[in-house]
């Protein structure tokens, strides 16, 4: 029950900070590919029921896929901090939030990418995305390091993050991605 109390407290905190009115999906615990697939199906059903535009649904599914697969790949075990994935809505936005424990080594790589993607001018980002995508190399494990880039591109760079030390080796990494409900580009 301690874990339930934690997730309720997290949801209240997010509601206040991000102005979330409704939660469409909350997942808390260890992630795997089966959970990724089920989560995307559920999100799609909920967004169809809420009559979101088709392009917003596709955009959301693609962003969620990258975020969920990133958690699955990079999550590290911790006694009290479990990964989470949340999709909520405010009046104008769809908010996709994730949190998980990563290694300090991963943190350095991720933060460098986040800073670089965030620094690109919004008008230049499509060209930047194309160039980075073109130059990426797919490893035998199927990684091309394109997940965060894809998230930034599809969310028009509306991405926030927080990293906090948990131990000397582990970092808590939170990613908040905002999608405009009506698919009108620009800063939200």
């Amino acid at each position: 029950m301690i874990e339930n109390a934690k997730i309720v407290s997290l949801l209240k905190d997010i509601s206040e900070k991000e102005n979330i009115k409704d939660y469409l999906l909350v997942i808390y615990g260890q992630f795997n590919q089966e959970i990724v697939v089920s989560a995307i199906k559920l999100i799609e059903k909920k967004l169809i029921l809420e009559q979101f535009p088709r392009s917003v649904i596709t955009k959301t599914k693609m962003i969620c896929t990258e975020m969920l697969q990133n958690i699955t790949k990079h999550q590290k075990s911790h006694e009290t901090i479990l990964p989470y994935f949340i999709v909520g809505t405010s009046d104008k936005t769809l908010n996709i939030l994730s949190g998980n424990i990563i290694t300090k080594e991963s943190c350095n790589v991720i933060e460098a990418k986040l800073l670089e993607y965030g620094s690109v001018d919004r008008l230049d980002f499509r060209d930047y995305y194309i160039e980075a995508f073109k130059n990426a190399v797919l490893s035998n494990e199927g990684n091309a390091g394109l997940g965060l880039l894809e998230i930034f591109y599809r969310a028009n760079q509306n991405v926030k993050y927080k990293m906090q030390n948990v131990t000397n080796e582990l970092i808590s990494f939170n990613l908040d991605v905002i999608v405009n409900k009506q698919l009108i580009g620009g800063v939200i």
Binding site: T58, T65, E66, L138, N143, R154
Partner: protein, 121 residues
């Protein structure tokens, strides 16, 4: 040379590579954990197909996909453009978000795509 048929799964698309017709169709959801592993047999079949210079039609009709799969598709298109006598890429999409993904791959490869809008938005 045999056709390549891969059945769809919950996270991978149906693949139908008809050697006799020179048509490769990929349809469904494409979010495998290891896209390279999924696309390797398709790439191998393509390379085998290209040993005899032939024309090829690639038809892509995806619901959604991950970034690794998108990169794999790019590699597939680049390989297909190398030896086929005539290459036609048909990008079928149900909304603008998916169509734009095709436009980006078209820009990167410099190949001409044919677009089919299934439902529009």
């Amino acid at each position: 040379m045999k056709d390549l048929i891969i059945e769809a799964s919950h996270s991978t698309p149906e693949v139908n590579f008809s050697v006799a017709k020179g048509v490769l169709k990929i349809k469904g959801i494409c979010t495998p954990e290891n896209p390279k592993m999924f696309f390797d047999p398709v790439m191998e079949k393509l390379i085998e197909f290209q040993k005899e210079a032939r024309s090829l039609v690639i038809e892509i009709y995806l619901d959604y996909f991950n970034s690794g799969s998108s990169k794999s598709l790019l590699n597939l298109f680049i390989e297909a453009s190398k030896h086929t006598t005539e290459l036609k890429i048909i990008w079928i999409s149900e909304d603008e978000e998916l169509k734009e993904s095709g436009v980006i791959l078209e820009e990167i490869t410099g190949l001409k795509f044919e677009y089919i809008d299934k439902k529009g938005n």
